[in-house]
C-alpha cells in the first residue's frame, strides 16, 4: 500500500495544474495518467487557446500541455505515473491503480478527481458502421498518430469541438462536406465558424443526421432540416456522400470514480450530465475528495486548468500547507474562474453551478459545514450572473458570417482608411479572450470591462503593423491598407495551411463565405515564428474588394 498526501487522477489540463498547485505549496503529490503522454486533450489541440495570459491564451494547446508536463517532471514533489489507470475508489479510501501491469493500492490523504469527459454518442440508423467516429477520436488520429482519417467528412455538431476539428481536418487536407447542427444557432465560438466558412465549409444549423449508409463502411449520410420540435421536415432530405461521419455532439463528464467514491451527484443539463456536487473550493460531498475540470461540468480547457489549480491549492491547504499564501491564491483562482464564466458563453455554466449549489444546500448538511469551515463565503458565480452581456441575435449566430451592419459598425472611418494601414478586428461575440490586447504594443486594442468584451481598435493609436494578426487565437484580425497604391489596396490575412504561398504567387482571394473573388498577387508573407506558426499573408486586391477578401486558396483547395 502506497501512502501519499495528494493523489491526482488524470493528467489532463486540470490534473497537471492540480498537481503543480498542490506541490507548489509543499504537498507530496502522486499524479496518475492513463495515457503514455500526459496532457489529456491538450496533446492533440493544435489550435491556439482563448482566455487570458493567466491561462496561457494565444499558445497552442499542444504547447501548453508540453509546458505543464515539463513543469511537472521538474517538480521533485510530484511522482508521475503514466500508462496507469485508476480502477476504483473503495469505501476504505483505497484507490486501486493498474500501474506497470500491477494491481497497485494507494491510500491518499486527499484525492483530486480530474478524469475529464467522454464523447457523447448519437442514435441513428447505421451509427455503428465503420467510419462513424467521435470527433475526439478523429483529432487523435490526425494530430497524435499522424493518420489522415478520411477523404470527405460530415461533421455533426457545431460546438467548439466540431468547428475546431473541422478546421484541423481541412488543414490535414480532408474535405468537409458540411458541419451540421441541430440547434438553431452555432454553439461554438463564432470566430471558429467564420474561419471555416471562409475556407468554404458550410455550417448548417437546424439540421440533423437521419442515417448513415454504406455497405460495410460509411459511404454517406442523409441529413435533413428539422423543425422547432427537432422533427425532420419531409422533403428536406439531402444525401451527403462521405467516407466518415464525425460526431461532435458534446461531452459527458467522466464520473464513474466520483459515483464509486460516494460523492453526492446531480444531473445538471447546463454542465452536460451528472456531476459531483462541489463547493467553492471544489471539494465534493465526501471530505477530502476534490473534483476539477470537465468531470464536474464541461467547460473550456482554460477553465479546467484554473479549476485544477484551485483544487490542488485547496487539497494542499487542507493538509496545512502555506495557509496564508494558499488563501490568496485560491481567491485569485476563483476570480479567474468567475471572469472566464462572466460572458454570455459562460451563462449556462453559471446557471449550472448555481443549480447544484441550491441542491446541495437542501440535501447535504454535512457538506455545508465543510464549506463553512473553509471560511470563503463570496459567491462568484452569482456575481457573474449580474453582469449583463449581449448575445448575438443576427444571422452571424447561424452561419458564422458577419452581417453588413455588424461589419459597418466596426470599420474605421473612411478618412482613417485612406491614411494608411489599420487593423480590422472581426470579433463580434463576447468570449473570454484577450491576447489581442496584449499583442498591441501601442495599446491600440482595448476592452471595456474584462476579457469577455469585444476588442475595440483605437484608429488613432493603431498603425496597422499587423502584429496582432498572428496572435489572435480566433484568426479574426485583418489589416487593410488603402494607401497601398492608386489601383490596389493591401489586405493582410492570417494563414495556417500548407503549402505556404510565396511573394509573387497569384492565389484565389475568397470572401467570408469561401467564394472566389478573383486571383490576386501575394506581395509579402511573414512567419509568426516557430512557436506561433501562423503566417501573415499580404495580398494586393482592388480597392473595392479589400473589405471582402478574407481568405485565400492555392490551387483548387479553398483555404
Amino acid at each position: 500500500m502506497k501512502h501519499i498526501e495528494v493523489m491526482v487522477i488524470g493528467g489532463g489540463p486540470a490534473g497537471l495544474c492540480a498537481a503543480l498547485a498542490a506541490s507548489s505549496l509543499g504537498a507530496k503529490v502522486l499524479l496518475v495518467e492513463r495515457d503514455e503522454i500526459p496532457g489529456g486533450q491538450l496533446v492533440k489541440q493544435t489550435h491556439k487557446f482563448f482566455g487570458s495570459e493567466k491561462q496561457y491564451a494565444g499558445d497552442r494547446g499542444i504547447h501548453i500541455g508540453q509546458m505543464l508536463l515539463e513543469n511537472v517532471i521538474a517538480e521533485q514533489d510530484i511522482e508521475l505515473w503514466t500508462d496507469s489507470t485508476v480502477l476504483a475508489i473503495y469505501e476504505d479510501g483505497v484507490v486501486t491503480v493498474e500501474h506497470e501491469g500491477k494491481h497497485t493500492k494507494v491510500k491518499p490523504d486527499r484525492l483530486i478527481i480530474a478524469t475529464g469527459a467522454a464523447e457523447k454518442f448519437l442514435s441513428f440508423p447505421g451509427n455503428d458502421l465503420p467510419g462513424v467516429y467521435g470527433a475526439g477520436a478523429v483529432q487523435t488520429l490526425m494530430n497524435v498518430d499522424g493518420v489522415k482519417p478520411a477523404k470527405r467528412v460530415l461533421m455533426v455538431g457545431a460546438g467548439n469541438i466540431g468547428l475546431i476539428v473541422s478546421y484541423q481536418l481541412k488543414q490535414a487536407g480532408v474535405e468537409i462536406a458540411a458541419v451540421i447542427e441541430g440547434l438553431p444557432k452555432i454553439g461554438g465560438y463564432l470566430v471558429h465558424a467564420s474561419k471555416i466558412q471562409r475556407a468554404g465549409i458550410p455550417v448548417l444549423t437546424r439540421h440533423t443526421i437521419l442515417e448513415a449508409y454504406g455497405n460495410g463502411q460509411v459511404e454517406g449520410a442523409i441529413i435533413a432540416s428539422i423543425d422547432e420540435t427537432w422533427q425532420p421536415i419531409p422533403g428536406t432530405e439531402q444525401k451527403i456522400p462521405c467516407d466518415a461521419i464525425c460526431l461532435a455532439v458534446g461531452l459527458s463528464p467522466l464520473t464513474e470514480l466520483a459515483w464509486q467514491a460516494g460523492c453526492a451527484m446531480a444531473f445538471v443539463r447546463e454542465l452536460s450530465g451528472h456531476v459531483p456536487v462541489v463547493d467553492d473550493l471544489l471539494e465534493s460531498s465526501r471530505p477530502g475528495i476534490y473534483c476539477a475540470g470537465d468531470v464536474s461540468g464541461i467547460e473550456e480547457a482554460s477553465a479546467a486548468m484554473v479549476e485544477g489549480r484551485l483544487a490542488g491549492l485547496s487539497a494542499a491547504f487542507s493538509l496545512g500547507y502555506e495557509a496564508n499564501e494558499a488563501k490568496a491564491l485560491q481567491q485569485s483562482a476563483m476570480e479567474e474562474l468567475a471572469e472566464l464564466r462572466a460572458g454570455p458563453m459562460g451563462q449556462h455554466i453559471r446557471d449550472g453551478i448555481n443549480k447544484v449549489k441550491l441542491k446541495r444546500k437542501i440535501g447535504n448538511h454535512a457538506f455545508e459545514n465543510q464549506t463553512e469551515k473553509s471560511g470563503i463565503v463570496k459567491d462568484y458565480s452569482s456575481d457573474a450572473t449580474n453582469t449583463c452581456r449581449a448575445e448575438i441575435k443576427t444571422s452571424l449566430i447561424n452561419d458564422g458570417i458577419p452581417t453588413k451592419e455588424e461589419l459597418d459598425a466596426i470599420y474605421p472611418s473612411d478618412k482613417r482608411l485612406t491614411e494608411g494601414p489599420i487593423a480590422i478586428v472581426e470579433c463580434f461575440q463576447e468570449i473570454p479572450c484577450n491576447p489581442c490586447v496584449k499583442a498591441c504594443k501601442r495599446g491600440a486594442i482595448s476592452m471595456l470591462r474584462d476579457i469577455n468584451d469585444v476588442p475595440v481598435v483605437d484608429e488613432e493609436l493603431c498603425n496597422g503593423c499587423g502584429l496582432c494578426i498572428s496572435l489572435c487565437p480566433g484568426l479574426a484580425i485583418f489589416v487593410v491598407d488603402k494607401s497601398y497604391s492608386g489601383d490596389m489596396a493591401l489586405i493582410k490575412l492570417p494563414f495556417e495551411y500548407v503549402p505556404v504561398p510565396k511573394s509573387g504567387h497569384f492565389v484565389a482571394g475568397l470572401d467570408r463565405a469561401g467564394r472566389e473573388l478573383g486571383r490576386f498577387e501575394v506581395v509579402r508573407v511573414t512567419s509568426g515564428g516557430d512557436k506561433n506558426k501562423t503566417f501573415t499573408v499580404s495580398l494586393a486586391v482592388p480597392h473595392d474588394l479589400v473589405m471582402e477578401v478574407r481568405g485565400i486558396r492555392i490551387g483548387e483547395q479553398a483555404i
Binding site: 476504483a88 473503495y90 469505501e91 476504505d92 486501486t96 494491481h103 493500492k105
Partner: protein
C-alpha cells in the same frame, strides 16, 4: 394498488415472486408483491445463480432436485416469452482434504437415495471434465451433469410475469415501513405508498428478514452476511461446469454468454448490511481461483459487486409463522442457496397456505428446530 389484499408478499426477489406465482396457481390470486426497489434488486440479482443438487442433507438434496426440474421448464411453466438462460453444464465439486473427500462420498449416498445422478470422478478423469484445471492437491471430485446455472433476472421476471398474468399485483420502489398486528394476528402492512390490509403477509426480504420480522414482534436468528462476486469479459467457451471448492470457499463458472463468474466466502466476514465491494476480495478471489485454474490468469475482470447471504444458524432456510402474529410468515435464512431451491420452496409454502398436501414437512423449517435441536445440518456450503 388496492387498500386490501388476501396476501401481501414483502420482497420482489426470486422467493417473493415464485411464492406469488405458486399461490396464484393454486387460486389465491388476490396477492400483492411489494418491492422496495426493482425486482431482483436485492440478493437475487446479485447472486451467482448456480443450481446445485449435490447436497449433503436429504432435505436440501430433495429441494434442489425438485427445483431443478422446475428450472428445466421454467419458461413453459410460467408462460414466459423470454429465455431464463438455464445452462446445465454440471457442477464439479473438488475436495482438497481427506476429510472433505470422505464427506463427499457420504453425500453421494444421500444424493443417490433421492435420485440425483451425481458420481465420483477418478482423479485422472477430472481433466476430461475441466481441461484447464490444476489438479495439484485435489483429493477427490464429484460431478453432477444436470447441475448448472440460470439467469436470475429472467427467472424472477418469469415468475413475476406469470403471477401478474393470473392477477397478482406487483409494486416496485415501495418500501414496507411497518406491520400491523392486532390481537396476535397480522392485519396488514404500512408502506411508503400507504397502508394495505392483508390476511397473510409473507416476509421474503432475505438479509432484511430479521429486521422485518421484528416489526411483528418475531425474533428470528437470521443475519445478513456480505458475499462478493466478480465477472470477467466474455471469452470463447473453455469450461462447461461450475467448479466449486468448500475448503477454499470458492466457486467459478463460465456463463453461456462467455463471461466467467466467480465468488468466494470469507469465514471472517462480519454481520452487516454492507453491500460495498472490496479490493481485498477482488485480489483474494483472483488468487484462489487462478491457483486451481491458472489458465484464467489472462481473463480480465469487468465488474465486481457484493450482496447478502441471509444466514441462519444451521445454514438452512427458516419458514416460520410468527407466534406473535398469526398469518405473518417469514421465508428466509437460505444462507446462500435460496435461488436454487426457490421453485420447490415456493411450492411447499403455497401448498401449506392453500391447505394442500406436500411430500415435504414444512414444520421441519420452523425456528422450533433451534429449541428442539433438530437442526437441518448441511455439511456442504460455500
Amino acid at each position: 394498488m388496492k387498500k386490501s389484499y388476501d396476501v401481501v408478499i414483502i420482497g420482489g426477489g426470486i422467493i417473493g415472486c415464485s411464492v406469488a406465482f405458486e399461490l396464484a396457481k393454486r387460486g389465491r390470486k388476490d396477492v400483492l408483491v411489494v418491492e422496495q426497489e426493482y425486482l431482483t434488486s436485492g440478493a437475487t440479482g446479485r447472486c451467482g445463480a448456480g443450481i446445485r443438487q449435490q447436497w449433503g442433507s436429504m432435505l436440501n438434496a430433495t429441494l434442489a432436485l425438485e427445483s431443478t426440474h422446475v428450472f428445466e421448464n421454467l419458461e413453459e411453466y410460467t408462460g414466459y416469452d423470454g429465455d431464463c438462460g438455464l445452462n446445465q453444464g454440471g457442477y464439479l465439486l473438488i475436495a482438497y482434504t481427506e476429510k472433505e473427500w470422505e464427506q463427499f462420498q457420504k453425500n453421494l449416498e444421500i444424493q443417490h437415495q433421492v435420485g440425483i445422478n451425481s458420481h465420483a470422478v477418478p482423479l485422472d478423469c477430472i481433466k476430461e471434465i475441466v481441461p484447464h484445471i490444476n489438479t495439484d492437491g485435489i483429493q477427490g471430485a464429484c460431478f453432477c451433469a444436470s447441475d448448472g446455472h440460470a439467469d436470475p433476472f429472467h427467472c424472477t421476471y418469469a415468475y413475476a410475469k406469470g403471477a401478474q398474468g393470473m392477477g397478482v399485483e406487483i409494486v416496485t420502489y415501495t418500501k414496507v415501513t411497518g406491520l400491523k398486528v392486532e390481537n396476535g394476528r397480522i392485519r396488514g402492512v404500512a408502506t411508503t405508498r400507504g397502508d394495505i390490509e392483508a390476511k397473510v403477509v409473507i416476509n421474503a426480504t432475505g438479509g432484511h428478514a430479521a429486521q422485518m420480522a421484528m416489526l411483528a414482534g418475531d425474533e428470528l436468528p437470521i443475519f445478513p452476511e456480505r458475499h462478493q462476486i466478480l465477472i470477467t469479459e466474455p471469452v470463447a467457451h473453455i469450461m462447461n461446469p461450475m467448479v466449486m471448492s468448500f475448503h477454499r470457499h470458492f466457486y467459478v463458472q463460465q456463463t453461456p454468454h462467455g463471461s466467467v463468474i466467480m465468488g468466494m466466502g470469507d469465514p471472517n466476514e462480519p454481520v452487516s448490511l454492507n453491500t460495498k465491494a472490496s479490493w481485498q476480495y477482488l485480489e483474494h478471489n483472483a488468487w484462489v481461483v487462478t491457483q486451481t485454474l491458472p489458465a484464467f490468469r489472462n481473463l480480465r475482470v469487468v465488474r465486481q459487486w457484493a450482496g447478502h447471504y441471509d444466514m441462519s444458524p444451521d445454514r438452512n432456510p427458516i419458514i416460520n409463522e410468527a407466534k406473535s402474529a398469526e398469518g405473518f410468515i417469514t421465508i428466509a435464512g437460505f444462507s446462500g442457496h435460496g435461488f436454487m431451491v426457490a421453485p420447490r420452496t415456493a411450492i411447499l409454502v403455497s401448498n401449506y397456505l392453500t391447505g394442500q398436501q406436500d411430500s415435504l414437512d414444512i414444520s421441519r423449517f420452523s425456528v422450533e428446530r433451534y429449541k428442539t435441536g433438530e437442526l437441518l445440518l448441511e455439511p456442504s456450503v460455500v
